[in-house]
Symmetry: C2
Subunit: 348 residues, 2 copies
Amino acid sequence: MIKFCTFNHRLLMSVDIKMLAKNLNLSISTISRALRDSYEISDVTKTRVREMAEKLNYHPNPYASSLRKHKSMTIAVVIPEITNNFFALAINGIEYVAQEKNYHVLIYLTHENIKKEIGFANHLQNGRVDGIMISLSSETNNYDHLIELKSKGVPIVFFDRICESIESSYITTDDYESGFAATEHLISCGCKKIAYLDLSRYLSISNKRMLGYMSALEKHHISIDERLVMRFTNNNAENEELISKMLTGPNRPDGIFASVEKLAIASYNVCERLKIKIPEQLKIISFSNLEISSLLSPSLTTITQPAYEIGKQAALQLFRYLEKKNMMNVHEKIILKSTLIPRGSTRA
Amino acid sequence: MIKFCTFNHRLLMSVDIKMLAKNLNLSISTISRALRDSYEISDVTKTRVREMAEKLNYHPNPYASSLRKHKSMTIAVVIPEITNNFFALAINGIEYVAQEKNYHVLIYLTHENIKKEIGFANHLQNGRVDGIMISLSSETNNYDHLIELKSKGVPIVFFDRICESIESSYITTDDYESGFAATEHLISCGCKKIAYLDLSRYLSISNKRMLGYMSALEKHHISIDERLVMRFTNNNAENEELISKMLTGPNRPDGIFASVEKLAIASYNVCERLKIKIPEQLKIISFSNLEISSLLSPSLTTITQPAYEIGKQAALQLFRYLEKKNMMNVHEKIILKSTLIPRGSTRA
DNA sequence: CTGTTAGCGCGTTCAA
DNA sequence: TTGAACGCGCTAACAG
């Protein structure tokens, strides 16, 4: 009665639709339809089938179904890193929506490496997923891999680190305004020489934040010192070295605006090593989603993005693509607001 | 020359093995073998096939392959939450190994809910993944769903929040010792009344940490006050309420040992609200993987687990199961060491 | 070294 | 309302 087959080098009993059919003296197609709750099947048969399925602990093979339906019930999330509360929160939002829709979530980490991003994009042309959500790597300055992916018909939603030159939906935050507010905050704390720290010269969010920074300086008649606009890599040790040089050099700033949490943390580490007091001697503001109280971080003022909501909105938009055939060319550009959370710096 | 088919409600050109065969005047199976670099195929043919595949931008359909081979090239990671540096780091390690092995990683979040965990476990019987790595939810006090999954032949590796009553590999840390060390650390800081805060009364790691806590108290002749051994839920507001009551009640402790980072943070938040000074009036130690400098958290002493390494080891063990048919009954119990990182509290 | 053939498990025509 | 038969795209057994 029970069929055995070697599966992955081990014995596994496989209950399939055929076995249900045999046990119930019904045809395979009837079973299939009953399980899919088709209108063509009588209620009596349906319940008989369901009961037998339950009894034999039947689980439909997702790959057979995907092959037949050309639908994987799976989405991909491609992000630079996961050890970053922003992305962790975004995944939380994405996963929430995916669970609602009975979808599965594949995770791909580029580690800020464009080659990996290209590799994932190329690979995902094969139908493994029904759509992807992506936040670009800091190295990404060319979008051919994404254009090709899109041309294959794979729906793409960008979030946070978006690509504006591709016509697709995106969810992001008011980076220009936040950059402006962050800089103005430091100015209002008395800073005269404010450094801007960033990971990338390519990302749209980086450039918008920087523009905000520059506008704020201009507004307050502070001249822009190009030497204080700095780019870093994924290498923390190197980054700290650079920051250390900046903080001991002739252009030493009295305020730092870090566009990424990890650069703020690197700055903190350097300050501790150099015995620079924060915020007395140096004020720091940073984009960050660390969920810690001000007691834990008495001197960290942050710009906090609605990360969970961003993930959720991005997923919802992706499902809008997936659920309605005529939505493929209806793109949404959603811009959410970030929040400046003042802490120690203001009290200083 | 190019075949079209409706895919997911949209037009998609599908280049399959058959088309390559036609274009090259070869049989389908030859193509298949050439692409899989089979020894039976001549180098000339192989390169011809590869070039044509490249030219037509051929991507093998993973679901067809999985259906045929009974192998999904996919693993599942089931964890309680992702907004927690421990799990984020663990995923990082897992993903590193998976990328090496050309595997795909599905993420499932239980949100500390046993019903979700059961749902995932039952669902994953269907062959969607070749194996799973799991860290139990704090509610999990029954393992039937996992036993059934294992009986279906799905390899399982437990990490951190393991299940000792199921014969399978696991990776965890020296929780008893860490609990002991954490408590002794507080005692050496002068604490006489130490509270133990935990999420669960079921998890093995919780119990081991608590045993360590109790042993340390005993060793130093401090009697155990059951009212200071507290369990919390996933509801932060409720947790802070409970902590607040504890810190204002007659049994007010002078030290807190939080077995989970979020409980330490809740404690910090409460202290801030109640104007309790840390570490002067209350010392706190916590399991935590926050990657922040001591400047950022001047008063947080932590027990840090080698989270990345745990993820990596867990994945490696899973692949040991997957790669060798005779490894299914060879289980490894790996116990890594955690590190106590003293901060403000010691200086206090 | 290559081709022919037969499924993997399911969904969906078409026919009854 | 149900059944028979075909094929999704690929791999593997068996021939040659």
